[in-house]
């Protein structure tokens, strides 16, 4: 469950931005998580709640924006949707796919007071 380590990374980023902006509290944290990223969202939410206790982000809402997966299909020569790693190209069935989007794991913004 590396989501705990990811949550710690999120809280460090959030704390540092909150400090820099003289925030009294962090009300919400917006994440961008790619559909193909190495994250189990439920585990991350649980970890976030645990890790934010006693920090400026305690009780903050965790909002997740999911970026859909995209891949470049070599045989088709075009960009196609990819819901999960290991899935075939929805058009030609090939696995000659190069992921181009959907692996993001970013803190996008925070709402502070």
């Amino acid at each position: 469950m590396h989501e705990m380590a990811l949550a710690e990374g999120i809280v460090q980023i959030v704390e540092s931005a909150a400090r820099a902006n003289d925030a009294q509290a962090v009300r919400a944290v917006w994440l961008e998580l790619g559909a193909l990223s190495h994250v189990e969202q439920e585990a991350l939410r649980f970890s976030f709640d645990v890790v934010t206790r006693g920090t400026v982000a305690a009780g903050a809402r965790l909002e997740v924006l999911t970026t859909p997966g995209l891949a470049w299909c070599m045989p088709c020569g075009e960009s196609v949707d990819l819901a999960r790693l290991g899935d075939p190209c929805p058009k030609c069935g090939s696995h000659q796919l190069q992921v181009t989007q959907g692996e993001e794991m970013r803190v996008k913004e925070i709402e502070i007071a």
Binding site: M1, H2, E3, M4, A5, L6, E8, G9, I10, Q12, I13, V14, S16, A17, R19, A20, N21, D22, A23, Q24, R27, A28, W30, L31, H38, Q41, S47, V50, V51, E63, V64, L65, T66, R84, L85, G86, P88, H95, Q96, L97, M105, R106, V107, K108, E109, I110, E111, I112, A113
Partner: protein
């Protein structure tokens, strides 16, 4: 750190790095505590952080505003987990720091309470793993300056990683210096097995943590001081999930899958097989007794990673070991030739 599963850093122990003390009081009570000799030492790391913070302070705390108003409004579309689409725009009232991507909206579009201290949005745009990746870059430079080839060996528990390592080291050592960083939650058993081969090994116990991260390896490298132009094996914690996300600064991840496991593991744990350059299919001497379809397993691995190389080996019987060690030697030679001068020298 975590009340349930951990992954906290506090419990990491690097051999010889943490002093453990035991005090016995007169009444018989025994207190144990650790000193963790952790220290920040790399100026490049703190420089990056400080720079970003200074940036933020500059814009955030001074009222004398920017005359060069950027005047662009960012429009965002948020898709909530339930499918609701929320659109809103931020007007960057003249305050926008590019470079480190710190933008300040005038007020949060989400703030609906007039009169109360208004909440505001602060754009951050930072990778969650940015800190790990900074340590990984430091490790990669450390290794490149010394011409060291580093392999991050990953697998589920029981795939035969440690046996594969001891057999590999025994064959490599006469011609090539080898050191090992051993990651396990507990015990120094594996490092002891490695040392029996004659190679130097450092055990890192992650405590409740489920993977090695780049800062652990950075501390490990400092302590281990692998020789120039050598091979460094990093044996990760047995886990096919978590180590996939953490760059340690290695040249390649090599995933070990034994034929006593399911042939569909590449599909079940695609992140790891996607992160690896090479899959070693271990224990192939047992194939006659098993119902394991090698061709299908390789096909599954290539579904998630069309470029993955595959070798079939048996660490105990020796099958395929020559090919695997030729791969290691080839990369070791490449690392030696690609050895970059340390920055201080290069600058002269």
């Amino acid at each position: 750190m975590c009340t349930t599963c951990g992954c906290g850093n506090g419990e990491t122990k690097i051999e010889g790095d943490a002093h453990q003390h035991e005090h016995r009081h007169a009444d018989g009570t025994v207190h144990r505590h650790d000193h963790d000799h952790d220290h920040q030492h790399d100026p490049a790391h703190t420089h990056r952080d400080t720079a970003a913070h200074e940036h933020v302070h500059e814009h955030g705390q001074h009222d004398h505003g920017h005359d060069h108003s950027h005047g662009h409004a960012h429009e965002h579309e948020h898709v909530l987990p339930d499918g609701t689409v929320v659109r809103h725009s931020h007007d960057h009232g003249g305050v926008a720091a590019h470079g480190d991507h710190v933008h300040f909206g005038v007020g949060a579009a989400h703030a609906h309470a007039p009169g109360l201290s208004q909440s505001r949005m602060v754009q951050i745009e930072q990778d969650i793993l940015a800190k790990n990746d900074r340590h990984a870059r430091f490790n990669r430079e450390f290794l490149a300056e010394r011409g060291i080839f580093a392999v991050n060996l990953v697998s589920s528990p029981g795939s035969g990683k440690t046996t594969l390592l001891t057999e590999s080291i025994a064959r490599l050592l006469p011609s090539l210096p080898v050191t090992v960083i051993e990651g396990d939650q507990q015990t120094a058993n594996d490092a002891e097995r490695i040392r029996a081969t004659g190679a130097r090994a450092l055990q890192i116990n992650t405590g409740k943590g489920c993977h090695l991260d780049a800062s652990m390896v950075e501390r490990g490298l400092e302590r281990l001081q692998p020789p120039d132009e050598s091979v460094l094996f990093i044996e990760n914690v047995g886990n096919l999930v978590c180590p996939a996300a953490f760059d340690l600064g290695e040249a390649h991840k090599v995933v070990v899958l034994s034929v006593t496991e399911g042939e569909d593991k590449p599909l079940k744990y695609p992140d790891m097989f996607r992160a690896a350059t090479l899959m070693l299919l271990n224990k192939v001497d047992l194939l006659p007794y098993l119902d394991f379809d090698v061709a299908r397993c390789i096909e599954y691995a290539r579904r998630v990673n069309p470029a993955i190389e595959v070798m079939q080996v048996s660490a105990t019987k020796g099958d395929g070991m020559d090919a695997w060690l030729a791969w290691v030697k080839l990369h070791a030679v490449t690392a030696r030739h690609a050895r970059v001068a340390p920055k201080s020298v290069a600058a002269e």
